[in-house]
């Protein structure tokens, strides 16, 4: 395999002068940045993790003995708003990476903040949804197979979004304090991969868990 065939997107351009973050762009024997390689491997495992949670939800679908059932609790308005919010956040994330790559650090920072903010709105909707289901509709974690599989699946997703928000804010703060310098876009790109993954999980949950019930 010729070295020339490999994408050198993280070439030595940044050198090793980026103050403690040199390890982020260190290339391994494949000529690829370790951080990005590790993120893709992690996302592969996350696929199977969420795959099993969603599969279990479907397996138990329609087998709950006692209500409330999905059609009794789901709200098309709340879910569609939060879906559009998360979709928009994927767009702002892509723009953050793009601006970081083209050296527009200020714009990148703004898009990072927007992404975190949109994520926060999504989590807020989920908190509202959970407390509404639980307190108003009587759907507790242990109520039925639907309740348990639904809460564990969407709760795990919401936790991922929350982790993503913290991560994005950390990246923003690192850029702000100069710990991530212009040109070193890898940390932003890798955080973006995670964020987009969380978005695609929601695309599946939104379509198959919510939309098919309406």
């Amino acid at each position: 395999m010729a070295d020339a065939a490999l994408p050198h997107d993280h070439h030595d351009a940044h050198g090793h002068d980026d103050h403690g973050h040199g390890h982020l762009v260190e290339n391994n024997f494949l000529g690829l940045p370790n951080l990005k390689l590790a993120m893709w491997a992690f996302l592969g495992s996350e696929c199977m993790f969420f795959g099993s949670l969603i599969a279990v939800y479907f397996f138990y679908h329609g087998l709950s003995i006692d209500g409330p059932l999905p059609a009794d609790v789901f709200s098309v308005t709340v879910t569609s708003i939060s879906t559009f919010v998360l979709l928009a956040s994927s767009f702002t994330m892509a723009m953050a990476v793009d601006n970081m790559k083209t050296g527009k650090v200020q714009a990148a920072k703004l898009f990072l903040l927007s992404t975190a903010f949109l994520g926060l709105i999504f989590v807020g909707f989920q908190v509202y949804e959970f407390q509404h289901f639980w307190l108003d509709k009587g759907l507790a974690l242990q109520t039925s197979l639907f309740a348990s599989s639904f809460y564990v699946m969407t709760g795990t997703h919401g936790t991922h979004v929350t982790v993503g928000i913290i991560w994005l804010l950390m990246v923003w703060s690192f850029i702000h304090r100069g710990k991530i310098k212009a040109g070193n876009y890898l940390p932003v790109e890798v955080a973006g991969l995670y964020w987009h993954f969380v978005d695609i999980v929601w695309i599946i949950i939104f379509t198959f868990v919510y939309l098919l019930e309406f």
Partner: protein, 233 residues
């Protein structure tokens, strides 16, 4: 090969592509939101929803996550596990459809249910009247025996309800009439563990059971379940 072969620092902006992708995704999502409410589309809606979400997934992975045109190692790390996940969802989902009761009392909601929904069994009026008369005259004696053997595990021997609803109050989920009880027994209840008993019991047994269930009303039960459904007086 890809845009990544540029030397660092000379990255082109993909902003235009991202805007187009973002707008397209929003439009697809809007279409997805409208689809379930178009009655005429009910038969094809589930397939369309699957199709549209696959497009959305592919767009986010290929464009936003840049996997298209990126190094094959990344694709190798991500795509096979994703295939396994999709296979797990499809296989377990298909298994669930086999065990799911797609019929029963209650309106079908999903397009799949509507397509599979068989006509419901109803007894003609004279047969019901006959059952009433016979039941009131004490004509059915095996109701309790059948109930204890087949129903008590969910509804309890005293009708107080456990996983299934209680019969001792005047609340009913699917109607208070003898005809309603017969219908539930024969058709089952969609999406619950109340299965259809029409293959297991003959008409006399169904009548006996329905009458026995009806007779629980107002009787004492230890720790009965709270009212479920509508209250009838």
């Amino acid at each position: 090969m890809s845009e990544h072969t540029h030397s660092a620092g000379a990255h082109h902006s993909h902003a235009k592509t991202y805007v187009i992708t973002g707008v397209s995704l929003a439009i697809i999502t809007a279409i997805e939101l409208v689809l379930p409410f178009i009655e005429q589309m009910a038969a094809v809606t589930p397939y369309l929803l699957v199709f549209l979400s696959v497009i959305k997934l592919a767009a986010v992975i290929a464009i936003f996550m840049h996997l298209k045109g990126d190094h094959g190692v990344y694709q190798f790390l991500f795509l096979p596990p994703m295939g396994i996940a999709v296979a797990a969802i499809v296989i377990l989902g298909a298994m669930a459809i086999r065990t799911y009761v797609p019929f029963g009392v209650g309106e079908p909601r999903l397009a799949v249910e509507k397509a599979l929904d068989p006509p419901r069994d109803v007894w003609p009026e004279d047969k019901l009247q006959e059952a009433y008369a016979a039941g009131l005259a004490g004509g059915f004696t095996d109701g309790k025996e059948l109930y204890d053997a087949n129903c008590a595990s969910c509804h309890r021997n005293d009708g107080g309800g456990q996983t299934g609803p209680a019969f001792v109050d005047n609340c009913w989920l699917h109607g208070p009439q003898l005809a309603d009880h017969v219908s539930v027994l024969m058709n089952g209840v969609r999406g619950t563990q109340m299965v259809s008993f029409k293959e297991r019991f003959n008409d006399d047994q169904l009548r006996a059971l329905a009458f026995y269930v009806h007779s629980f009303q107002g009787k004492p039960a230890t720790n009965p379940k709270a009212c479920q459904g509508k209250e009838y007086n």
